[in-house]
């Protein structure tokens, strides 16, 4: 058909239901991208903290401010989610939790555990 | 706009088991073969066959093709042609092995061979103990076979016209078939396919009845096309009602359930088949079991609030057997009857299932018509599968013989086309007036204005068929039915579409299908009215006995003037002795 290129496509993501495992997956991707974007700043902090006592103090200070705390929380959440989701993926690779019900439950667990763990870790490290 | 044309060596209409098995034979040679299907090939109704395919492989119990032949002749109530039946039962064995080589995932026995289950009407040693002859891929045998055949055709690069609807055959003044006019459903555009040989493999026509196990697509397209081309339909009065459809819905519960040990009970919990068929019980032939169920319900022993069905007990088999051998049934029961077969019995009632009759052919798939005192082949036309009548099923088909029929005769037709092509190297000249007639059938639906809707006429027709050409048939009921059906046929010219758009207009397809349903349905009702005996699926309370003296003959219905003709049953097999008619008890 010559008209095929003009045909409409239904891809309204607000009208397509994403199952819990899909939600977990897209958060996995988003957290990965966030940490990638945050990498230069993390390396800057590492460099700064190792540059000398002043740098170390500056680095410690910068993560204790309001913006810094929010940043640390986002990183901790991202790390928790990405890590837990990653473990889930590795287990699925070896056929553990690949059945539908189990996959749903573990996905939900990861989505819930991410921010909770993120919050705890933020409190713990700061 | 000029009509678009394509030329092929062979044209196959229908992409179920018969069409695809014919196509694969051709595609494996250098013939140019086109397969036209109104749905994507794996949506063809072969996909719904559950139980299996019969072949005397003797993997489980002793067996040979001669026993299989006896059961088939007996099952046909001695109306089947014994030469064709011998051919089929012999060919069954290599056919099943070929399927296995083609990738069909048959269930297996511990020794690695193909699993075979018990099915109704199958015996050892000419009517002795129950045989195990039905080769199965769990309860999805048709699905497994159809997909494998499609896959083989993809491998062989068969040319598919998916979602094209066949309008009519094109023929010349000598009656030779030159191809067909088809319509691309997606665009609504007609296309003329010229072919040296045309194979009709359009499947069944269960949609003529309101309650049926058949798919929406089973509208008798091929049989109606043949009728319009002046070809008669044979033995159309023999329509099989499968005993175990889900009550009120029609979805099939395979005979394999009874083969695995399931049985029927009435409202008193009585295993009533013991009364109707003391030996075979629930595995008696399908016509016997269907009549028994209808009788139970008529005599007030039905189950449910309306006492309108019986129960199929499976729960005693245990979860392992059910989920291993009958997983699809458990699923269907849950979805459509709200019943888990592992714990509860399934509500069942006979459902319109299979037409034994069809386009008359010889065992090579060639369409044959009466000519003078004998018969003649229609040049360039073949038919195979449910739309054809070789006659291997006679008055009643055995479970597991339909997949066998489509495969054996689809293959035989394909092979004969190959031979035919060696002699006929050129296309015959096109006959323009025939093309115009076919085009008129398409353009007729462009008429605008008020009229009866397709849906209304269709609903009324199917209801009338159910009421007047069902399981039990008296002169009175059927005569009234034929008049009603003819009256409905007369209304066809007044039917109008309100939607005249081109692109994927399913209303137009349904209108074309309606014409096919009407032609095929009337063939059934008319042939039934005329046959004054009870034989196989054709059961007449006013003529309760089989009448071999007057009626051991095939009926032929012609559309023109609703004319009937008859021809003798071929009782002489190819190599063995004739099985003479005997009383049929199970």
């Amino acid at each position: 058909m010559t008209t095929s290129t003009r045909r409409p496509v239904h891809l309204n993501l607000f009208k397509i239901k994403l199952p819990i495992a899909g939600i977990m997956s897209i958060i996995h991707r988003a957290t990965g991208m966030f940490m990638f974007i945050a990498l230069p700043y993390l390396i800057y902090l590492l460099d700064l903290s190792l540059s000398g006592p002043t740098g170390f103090a500056e680095a410690v200070d910068s993560v204790h401010g309001f913006v810094g705390t929010v940043f640390v929380f986002l990183i901790m959440w991202s790390l928790s989610h990405h890590l837990l989701a990653g473990i889930r993926y590795l287990l699925i690779d070896i056929d553990l939790g690949v059945e539908k019900e189990m996959a749903r439950q573990t996905a939900l667990a990861v989505v819930v555990a991410g921010p909770v763990l993120g919050l705890l870790l933020t409190g713990g490290v700061l | 706009m000029a009509l678009k044309k394509r030329r092929f060596d062979a044209l196959i209409i229908g992409a179920g088991g018969a069409g695809l098995n014919a196509a694969i034979q051709l595609a494996n040679t250098d013939a140019r073969v086109a397969v036209v299907s109104k749905v994507f090939p794996t949506r063809s109704h072969t996909v719904a066959a559950q139980g299996g395919v019969n072949a005397a492989l003797a993997n489980v119990l002793p067996d040979n093709w001669h026993w299989h032949m006896f059961d088939t002749v007996k099952g046909s109530d001695y109306l089947g042609d014994q030469d064709a039946i011998e051919f089929m039962c012999r060919e069954a064995i290599p056919t099943v092995y070929e399927l296995e080589h083609n990738g069909v995932p048959f269930s297996r026995l511990d020794d690695g061979k193909i699993y075979q289950r018990a099915f109704g009407g199958q015996s050892q040693n000419f009517g002795g103990a129950q045989a195990a002859r039905t080769c199965a891929a769990a309860d999805r045998t048709g699905h497994a076979i159809l997909h494998a055949l499609y896959q083989q055709n993809v491998r062989a690069r068969t040319h598919f016209f998916d979602e094209y609807f066949a309008i009519d055959l094109i023929r010349d003044d000598e009656g030779a078939i030159l191809g067909a006019l088809i319509m691309e459903i997606e665009t609504g555009e007609p296309l003329l396919i010229e072919a040296k040989a045309t194979v009709l493999a359009t499947g069944g026509c269960g949609q003529v009845y309101r309650t049926t196990s058949n798919a929406h697509i089973n509208t008798g397209d091929g049989t109606a096309m043949a009728l319009r081309a002046g070809i008669p339909l044979m033995d159309m009065e023999f329509f099989q009602f499968h005993p175990t459809g889900i009550a009120g819905k029609g979805m099939l519960i395979t005979e394999g359930v009874r083969g695995e040990g399931g049985y029927l009970v009435n409202k008193d919990g009585e295993r009533f088949m013991e009364r109707y068929a003391p030996n075979a019980k629930d595995l008696a032939s399908r016509d016997v079991v269907s009549r028994a169920i209808v009788t139970e319900v008529k005599e007030g022993r039905g189950v449910g609030p309306n006492a309108d069905h019986v129960l199929l007990k499976v729960d005693h088999l245990g979860e392992e057997i059910v989920s291993k051998r009958l997983p699809g049934i458990r699923e269907s029961g849950r979805i459509f009857a709200g019943v888990d077969a592992v714990h509860e019995p399934l509500p069942v009632f006979p459902t319109a299932h299979y037409v034994m009759g069809g386009i008359p052919t010889d065992p090579y798939g060639r369409v044959i018509v009466p000519q003078g005192n004998g018969e003649e082949v229609v040049p360039g036309l073949y038919a195979a599968g449910e739309c054809a009548c070789v006659s291997v099923h006679g008055a009643n088909r055995l479970g597991g013989n339909s997949l066998l029929d489509i495969l054996v005769f689809g293959r035989a037709a394909g092979l004969d086309v190959i031979e035919n092509l060696k002699e006929n190297r050129n296309h015959r000249p096109l006959n323009e007036s025939s093309v115009e007639t076919a085009m008129a059938r398409l353009t007729r639906w462009d008429q605008k204005g008020e009229g009866i809707s397709v849906r209304a006429l269709r609903d009324e027709f199917r209801k009338t068929m159910e009421d007047h050409a069902g399981v039990f048939r008296t002169e009175e009921i059927m005569a009234e039915g034929v008049e009603k059906l003819k009256a409905l046929r007369d209304k066809l010219p007044d039917v109008r579409l309100s939607d005249h758009s081109k692109v994927f207009n399913t209303a137009r397809v349904e209108a074309l299908e309606l014409e096919n349903l009407v032609d095929t349905g009337i063939a059934i009702a008319y042939s039934a009215l005329k046959r004054q005996e009870s034989r196989g699926a054709h059961s007449r309370p006013d003529f309760p006995a089989r009448d071999d003296a007057n009626w051991m003959k095939h009926s032929l219905y012609f559309k023109q003037d609703d004319r009937m003709d008859y021809k003798p049953v071929r009782t002489k097999p190819l190599t063995v002795e004739t099985f003479p008619p005997k009383e049929r008890v199970y």
């Binding site: 095929s4 045909r7 409409p8 239904h10 891809l11 397509i16 239901k17 199952p19 495992a21 899909g22 997956s25 991707r29 993926y89 699925i92 070896i94 056929d95 690949v98 059945e99 539908k100 996959a103 749903r104 | 749905v39 994507f40 949506r43 109704h45 996909v47 719904a48 099943v96 092995y97 080589h101 083609n102 990738g103 995932p105 048959f106 269930s107 297996r108 020794d111 061979k113 193909i114 997909h147 494998a148 083989q152 993809v154 491998r155 798919a215 929406h216 697509i217 979805m251 099939l252 699923e331 269907s332 979805i335 809707s453 849906r455 939607d499 758009s501 692109v503 994927f504 399913t506 209303a507």
Partner: protein, 230 residues
């Protein structure tokens, strides 16, 4: 009950829109019955359907955001208003009918047939029940397309990513002890696209009307590939 169905006729509509229908819902009604009722009200409404019992795979649609087979989806399980749209990501031909060509192409691309180099035996190729069991959960696929059209990776790369359906089929033949083309099949799946666009999102598993698990099949392909390359 209130139904909202997606309508689009290329002859007259610039874009798809939702149309409201009221359907009376008796007990046990399937979504396909409801769509047929809508067609009764408006003959021009188009959708594919055939067997009505979930084996032919014709009537996959997107209902309230999830891909389902209409004929085995009880209306009672759906939340009102019931919104019915065509499969996501596929070009719409008309109303609920989409162009599945790409999906079939991907299926054909995995060479879905048993390849046997040894000469065929006169009888069946032997296969133990345990070997045959490996095909369970694979061969039952009905090509309805629910899985692939719910897969984000397939939405973004339908030309290059095989999609869950075709990969399930690929594993169906890799797992068949009769097949002798393991290396060729694995080689053909290499590269970043055909197989490795799968990110284990598992939308496919979520929607398969036959309860099959393409994710598991894909995992088995990857594992076999890894095993054969070290």
């Amino acid at each position: 009950m209130k139904f909202l169905v997606s309508r689009y006729n290329p002859d007259s509509d610039a874009a798809p829109y939702m149309q409201e229908f009221e359907v009376e819902v008796p007990r046990g009604m399937m979504l396909r019955d409801a769509l047929l009722d809508i067609k009764r009200q408006d003959e021009s409404f188009s959708f594919r359907h055939s067997c009505g019992e979930g084996v032919c795979g014709s009537d996959g649609v997107n209902v309230n955001g999830t891909n389902k087979l209409a004929c085995i989806t009880p209306v009672s399980e759906l939340k009102e208003p019931i919104e019915v749209r065509p499969f996501p990501g596929r070009p719409i031909i008309r109303d609920l009918v989409v162009d599945m060509t790409q999906f079939y192409q991907q299926y054909k691309a995995v060479k879905p047939w048993v390849v046997r180099n040894d000469p065929m035996p006169e009888q069946e190729i032997l296969q133990s029940p345990q070997e045959r069991d490996k095909l369970d959960g694979l061969y039952e696929c009905i090509l309805c397309g629910c899985c692939s059209t719910s897969c984000p990776s397939f939405w973004w790369n339908p030309e290059k990513f095989h999609g869950p359906q075709a990969l399930l089929t690929a594993w169906r033949f890799l797992a068949d002890t009769r097949d002798q083309a393991t290396d060729e099949r694995l080689d053909a799946l290499e590269g970043p696209y055909k197989l490795f666009r799968c990110h284990t999102i598992m939308n496919c598993v979520e929607v398969c009307p036959k309860g099959l698990n393409p994710t598991k099949a894909i995992g088995h392909i990857k594992a076999l590939m890894l095993k054969n390359s070290v």
